[in-house]
């Protein structure tokens, strides 16, 4: 399970968590999100997200 960060605003997508509020179920792989998907906060295209290996702040649920 990987995490991706929007290079336009910093919004983070976590495969384990998905984005249920935006219709993406927990466990949805990045590769399975449509190529025309954009950042829900700033509209940056999916291609301008970067895979990151950064842990959550302590107190945030670890995945």
């Amino acid at each position: 399970m990987k995490k991706y960060l929007c290079l336009g605003c910093g919004f983070s997508y976590d495969e384990a968590r998905g984005l249920p509020e935006h219709g993406i179920a927990p466990g949805t792989r990045w590769a399975d999100i449509p190529d025309d998907w954009v950042c829900p906060d700033c509209g940056t295209p999916k291609s301008r997200f970067e895979m990151v290996e950064i842990p959550y702040f302590e107190g945030e649920a670890a995945t």
Binding site: L7, G8, C9, G10, F11, S12, C42, V52, F57, E60
Partner: protein, 248 residues
């Protein structure tokens, strides 16, 4: 010396962001207002350059026209965003609850963390010159924070002063990252000692320096890595350099 890249000023990305048209809701200001942005790294529509350096993803050299030009309230997460005011006055508003005015030599560190919005405005009558730096955080979704400070031009004359990072007097940051400033009023040799194995990015605000046989003039920049000591030869008085140390 191991040089990662040398970036002449003219080879940076360039964006002209008018307050009308597609940017109308993003860019504040009267209809003639606009922001110019020179990007050292890929950002926005500019995607043909260097992707970043270490934990740094944005180094933007921006000018806001006066009378209300700037960025309207917009959201961020995670990135640690810094602004270093070079000239004019920056009005910064954020959802942590701060309305701040920053003048020449003032700077802030805004950690967006679990979510925050900000607006950046030039409500003055002259241009605002400001450098924006965005850094990946050490932890995701941390509590947001905002801190500000001022570079003391007299105490900081002819030496390297740490502005952001793990040093007394500097603003702390939750990342292996430092921003320092070198203001020199004469030709002189300086040494910067990054902690191994960090890299160093040098951006010439004004003046002229030589690093690793590369001559850098106004708004040129370069990055080096694998050095215990980086020698910076200032070639003219009135030189002003920002030095960014980052884990690689």
């Amino acid at each position: 010396m191991s040089v990662r890249f040398v970036l002449p000023a003219a080879e940076r990305g360039y964006s002209f962001l008018p307050s009308v048209g597609p940017n109308a809701s993003y860019v504040a200001g009267h209809p003639d207002g606009a922001i110019t942005r020179h990007s050292s790294f890929n950002f926005g529509e500019y995607q043909s350059g260097i992707p970043g350096f270490g934990a740094m993803r944005v180094f933007g050299d921006e000018v806001f026209m006066p009378n209300g030009t700037g960025y309207n309230m917009h959201p961020h997460h995670n990135f640690i965003i810094m602004a270093f005011v070079l000239s004019g006055t920056l009005t910064h508003i954020n959802t942590i609850g701060r309305i701040d005015e920053l003048g020449r030599d003032d700077y802030y560190v805004f950690s967006a963390g679990s979510g925050g919005k900000h607006s950046e405005l030039n409500i003055g009558e002259g241009d605002l010159g400001v450098i924006y730096v965005w850094v990946l955080p050490g932890r995701l979704l941390a509590p947001p924070s905002y801190r500000r400070a001022r570079f003391d031009r007299s105490a900081g004359a002819n030496r390297i002063t740490c502005l952001v990072g793990d040093e007394p007097g500097a603003l702390p940051i939750a990342q292996t990252f430092r921003v320092s400033r070198l203001v020199s009023d004469a030709e002189r040799r300086y040494a910067y000692r990054p902690a191994r194995p960090n890299g160093l990015y040098a951006f010439v605000v004004e003046g002229e320096v030589e690093i690793a046989d590369a001559l850098l003039t106004r708004r040129d920049s370069m990055a080096v890595e694998g050095e215990d000591q980086v020698t910076i030869d200032v070639r003219t008085g009135g030189t002003d350099v920002l030095l960014v140390e980052t884990k690689l």
